[in-house]
Amino acid sequence: METLIGLLVAAPLLGAGILLTGGRRLDRTGHLIGTLLALVSFAFAVVLFADMLGKDTAQRTLTSHLWTWVPVEGFQAQVGFQLDQLSMTFVLLITGVGSLIHIYSIGYMAHDERRRRFFGYLNLFLAAMLLLVLADNYFLLYAGWEGVGLASYLLIGFWQHKPSAATAAKKAFIVNRVGDIGLSIGIMLMFTTFGSFAFADVFPKVAQASGTQHATVTGIGFMLLLAACGKSAQVPLQSWLGDAMEGPTPVSALIHAATMVTAGVYLITRSSAIFNAAPDAQTAVVTVGAVTLLFGAIVGCAKDDIKKALAGSTMSQIGYMIMAAGLGPIGYVFAIMHLVTHGFFKAGLFLGAGSVMHGMNDEVDMRRYGALRSYMPITFVTFGLGYLAIIGFPGLSGFFSKDKIIEAAFAKGGGEGWILGSAALLGAAITAFYMTRVMIMTFFGEKRWQPDAEGHEPHPHESPATMTVPMIVLAFGSVFAGGLFSINSAFVKWLEPVTGHSEGNSPVSTATVTAGTMVVLVVGVALAWAMYGRRPVPAVAPRGSLLTRAARRDLLQDDFNHVVLVRGGEHLTRSLVYLDHSLVDGVVNGTAASVGGLSGRLRRVQNGYVRSYAVSMLGGTALVVAATLLMRAV
């Protein structure tokens, strides 16, 4: 079984290797190889899952040590895997949703001449993500972490001929790198404090921390939070997510639903021992989560680009998860549960959006959609189910997971609990609003189709089976996953050994919370219906309020980045280039010039007359004699 863990990662990695080095001769079969290997990986995951289910709770953790990666005195980095319930959940999600997205991409990318490469990148992404969740130490996790960053860079920038795509890819990578600083400093802190960065070494020792080491642990927590912010697009490092929509839609689904953005949640949950020991860091985590869930929701309300609206939604939902993870043992399980359900419905939504775009000549502006429900029924139904799930319609997945998070937020207790709970409720209302908006603008109302730049009228049609089947599967997940998990608190029991769980004392009862969410849900939906359903949607966006305009521009965060970081950076580098030339180099060249000037003057002494040289010889000799005499005299 242990070897299977390695193979789990190796299969997609092998696929990436084959596809990226195979050359043109694999163009015809490349996508099949990629999909097959993703499925193989999923099969391994299922086998491992079955094996795990068959074991006692205490013996479920599997470890597998492959080789010593970096053997340096004091610093022994291992390549080793650890498969426990938490990893297992992720592995199933990643390989499962990942495989579906592979299948979907066969249809979606059918006409792209570089499809083989696309599948190579997808495989690479899977491999990196699996590495991330399976690593048994932070160093290897970091490798997966960055590998995911690379794969997302390649996938977002897949259509490199579009400058916007290339820029978005670069931005994603660099913002992620800022987060990576956090992870690497976190690892360094662990190394200097605990002498190791393996989960098995670090977590037990966190409890032994005393005195100033508490501060260090808190520092580690903050650093891990920074890392999570980068990868999970949390404020203040969220700016890359919207731009990342430049990538092909399956990429958006893969990155935003199942995998990459959830890595931050994984990291925090995995490091629960550290966060539990660092309440200040936890406070920071919930703050970031709460702010982001509102931030993302507001941004999602204002976007007309369907994918960007969904991206805002993702940001917001991840905010929920981060917040839940920050709540400590009362929230970890629900963070992961929401993560899984979100993986289903958000992937479904993105794939649905992709399907819509596929039928609409790659149009992304929702103001040019409308009335599509009859043209693409399967897409409509699956998208609609995802929609219901995300807004937390009773009985569907989102309902179970999101409610729990809101409950847990209240259960945090004190004023903090009230603030977080209210924020979560408000977020739920806004979610209902913007998702309804997306739904109405896309599938209801009248046609607002317009020909594309080359004058082709759109002919909306249902997508091929390779695309619809994954959507249907995901829709099933969206509908039933939450319910299944909640039966008999199955999910809580499943994860509890890893993350720990406590119920907490909620000042409001479960029923009250549920009622509250229902109310905000209805309010949100009604508001959206009032604004977009009852009157026609203008083809050109109205100017809107100040908040709307700010939200369209990602609440001005990009502008801030542009002015402060990009411009500032440009000025800094330019002046440094100038300084390097004029000052650092100038000093040297100035010395050279003055030496040159001096020698220019000195060379007049070299007049070519032998006698003149003879004088200097004699003078020199006289000096030597004088010096000798002086030395003797002294």
């Binding site: 004088v615 004699l618 003078g619 006289a622 004699v625 004088a626």
Partner: protein, 312 residues
Amino acid sequence: MMSLAASASQTSTGEAVQFWVLGTVAVLGALGTVLMKKAVHSALSLAGTMIVLAVFYLAQGAYFLGVVQIVVYTGAIMMLFLFVVMLVGITAADSLKETLKGQRWWAAICGIGFGVLLIAGIANASLHTFTGTGAANSAQGGNVPGLARLLFTTYVWAFELTGALLITAAIGAMVLTHRERTEERRTQRELAEARVREGTQVTPLPAPGTYARHNAVDIPGLLPDGTISEASVSSTLRERGQIRDVSRDALRRLAELDQRSEEWLERRGVAGASRWEPGRRKGLPGAGSGDDPADPADPAEHAADHAEEGAK
């Protein structure tokens, strides 16, 4: 003078006198070398100094060197100098006027400073006693055997090297002064053809010295019209301006001869007078040499010459 004490502080009075007298001569010779205007004089002054130095060598017991100094230096090297002076030109006196800016000042400062320092250094060294060469000379039975022993034992390697150096210098001097013939020697035929082609004088050059009262080489021959022929004297003499132009004198005397002949024949010739009138002729080169003071007019000789000519 020959029997010096093993360790003494004073030389004999004779040597002292000799030193002061000859030392003065040596310094004067040295100054002469530097200050004499003509290279030959410098060379002679230097030779004098060297002879004095030879005497000093002898006085100090370095008999072999004393002799060698005279033979090699004064005899060979100085003669070499004189030969070169002769080759380069004895008249090429160079002026003592300084052309380099500040050279003389710097030379004076450095020279005097250096000299003072040297003398101070010597004075500073406490050399009150001396051993003398007597013992060293007699150890091997004389100065020359002593030197020979050293030369062929301790210094044999240096000696061999100087031998190599000398032979190299000799070859080097030959190489330096040897003029490489860069092209095939041209035959007489080629030379003649070239002369015809270039349009230079084909016929033999006119002979000098038509005015045969003098050493004829430096006197250009006269053309039929009485002007001089430049080509008839060596170009070296021409460039040095050592031509003695006698054309005007010759014309004057010819006119006189005519006059006298007419007087003698007592008849008048109309054409002759106008034919030999110097005033009507275009500028004659070397106009001033007609009244050459080095050409004393001896009427008797003149008369005799002209008589002969007239007889022809």
